[in-house]
């Protein structure tokens, strides 16, 4: 596979093998000789943000899929489809800028602050929202940007369902909504596969995250808190990392980990898709 690229990163990893041990620590301090890095925060951050974003994408994309394929009539359907297509190709930096300038303040004032005030005893709401740059904001914008991709995949999957099953459920007198439930049942493995692919993409997403997650080296599970993901760490520290001995290799190590998880997720997703494709045509 792309061991080619892995090979480039690997020397950096070997050079800094110690890092693997200190990965459980999350105190990165880049003093020259006393350098100590731990990637726990960005790793947890990456997973947290990406998984949350994918979970948000799930209902949005499934709903969009059925709305586009079944509910709307030609004109509206094409219109909605075009909008989704435009959203799908829109440069991520635009999403990021919008997320940081428009959505973050709005979320902070109207969603995070009230939740913190009233429901602050729940752990994921228990930190005071300061800037609006947080796990929640990043996940939300990431979800909005990922939904078109998953929707496109799901529509493709929908079109692969043999027409006889659609006919079958209609002929039994099912309502439109009941038809959706059945079609969703048929699509379920494919939906999961698509979400895995979306997860893979979300993990590698840099621009949106770097602009909305707060870029704080902090291990936290609170939704309103700033943290780092591996790409955002790389994006913000790369320039200055050149000046130190072990900073760069650490970043490469993070990148390697990211690559492995990302490729793993997409591999499972693609395999699931192939399996589903052969089963559905029985």
């Amino acid at each position: 596979m792309s061991l080619f690229i892995t090979y480039q990163s690997a020397p950096s990893l070997i050079r800094f093998g110690v890092d693997l041990l200190s990965s459980t620590v999350w105190r990165p301090a880049d003093d020259p000789e006393l350098e100590k890095y731990g990637l726990l925060a960005p790793v947890v951050g990456s997973l947290y943000v990406s998984v949350l974003a994918t979970l948000i994408t799930f209902p949005l994309s499934v709903t969009l899929t059925f709305t586009i394929t079944e509910i709307l009539h030609k004109r509206l359907r094409d219109f909605l489809r075009s909008i989704v297509e435009i959203m799908g190709g829109l440069p991520t930096v635009v999403y990021g800028l919008w997320g940081s300038t428009v959505l973050a303040p709005y979320l902070r004032d109207f969603i995070m602050q009230p939740l913190y005030d009233h429901l602050g005893f729940i752990p994921i709401f228990s930190c005071k929202p300061v800037s609006g740059y947080s796990i929640l904001t990043a996940s939300l914008v990431l979800a909005i940007a990922s939904t078109p991709y998953v929707t496109a995949l799901l529509i493709e999957g929908y079109n692969m369902i043999p027409a006889k099953y659609k006919e079958g459920i209609i002929c039994l007198g099912a309502t439109k909504y009941e038809t959706f439930k059945l079609l969703y049942g048929l699509l379920k493995p494919y939906v999961i596969a698509s979400l895995l692919l979306s997860l893979s993409r979300a993990l590698g997403e840099t621009t949106i995250v770097a602009l909305t997650v707060g870029n704080a080296m902090k291990l936290t599970l609170c939704l309103f808190d700033s943290t780092h993901t591996i790409p955002s760490l790389i994006a913000s520290q790369f320039e200055s990392a050149r000046l130190y001995t072990y900073a760069m290799p650490t970043l490469f190590a993070g990148g390697l980990l990211l690559l492995l998880i990302s490729l793993g997720a997409s591999y499972v997703g693609i395999k699931k898709m192939y399996d589903w494709r052969s089963k559905i045509h029985v």
Partner: protein, 251 residues
Amino acid sequence: MSAYAVEIKNLKVSIKGVEILRSIDMKIRKNTISVIMGPSGSGKSTLLRTLNRLTDFMDGIRVEGSVFVLGRDIFTVDPYELRRKVVLVSQEPNPFPHMTIYDNVALPARLNGIARSKQELNEIVKWALEKVMLWDEVKNRLRDYPHTLSGGQRQRLCLARALAAKPEILLLDEPTANIDPSNTFKIEESLRELKEDLTIVMVTHMPHQAARVADHVALLYGGVIVEEGPAKEVFMNPRSEITNNFLRGVI
């Protein structure tokens, strides 16, 4: 209440400008097996699908004329309501692959709320599977999935599923076209029993099958009904040359 289950007057159907059915007049009595036969492409499937308004989903379709089912104009009633009473079984077996055999049959009963308890549901499933003579073959593996069944068993499963909906009219589109003789025999047996409970309208391109099961038969050729009448009469003394040719396998 009308004595007829289905009354069709001057039905014309065209798809994208091409005339499929030119002018159909037909009356189907309740609790009978009516067979619409004809060569491939004569519009039999379209006629059948008009009866449960599956035609609503066809691109570019134009339907004129009147169709009354169970005394009501099908174009004024709620189509979903219609399809609950008039259930169609497709030519290609289509059991839902992600549901167990039990769940497949139980589905319409669950949706329609016919069963009010688990017990009642079990009974309906058993009844439906017995009617299609599938019960003995699957009673020990109701939790299995349809792909473990043979083609003929799958088609019978679809038939059982349709029965579990307790329809008043059963529409069958070439129900044994892809089925081996023994399964065909079983299905035909089931149909004869079933007409006590409901009205059956069946489409086939095999004249011998029509001869075996039909009470009433109509030959559809070139978009019109060329001949119709009680099965015995049509088969013994066909009035039209076309009927003759069809029965002899020429067309």
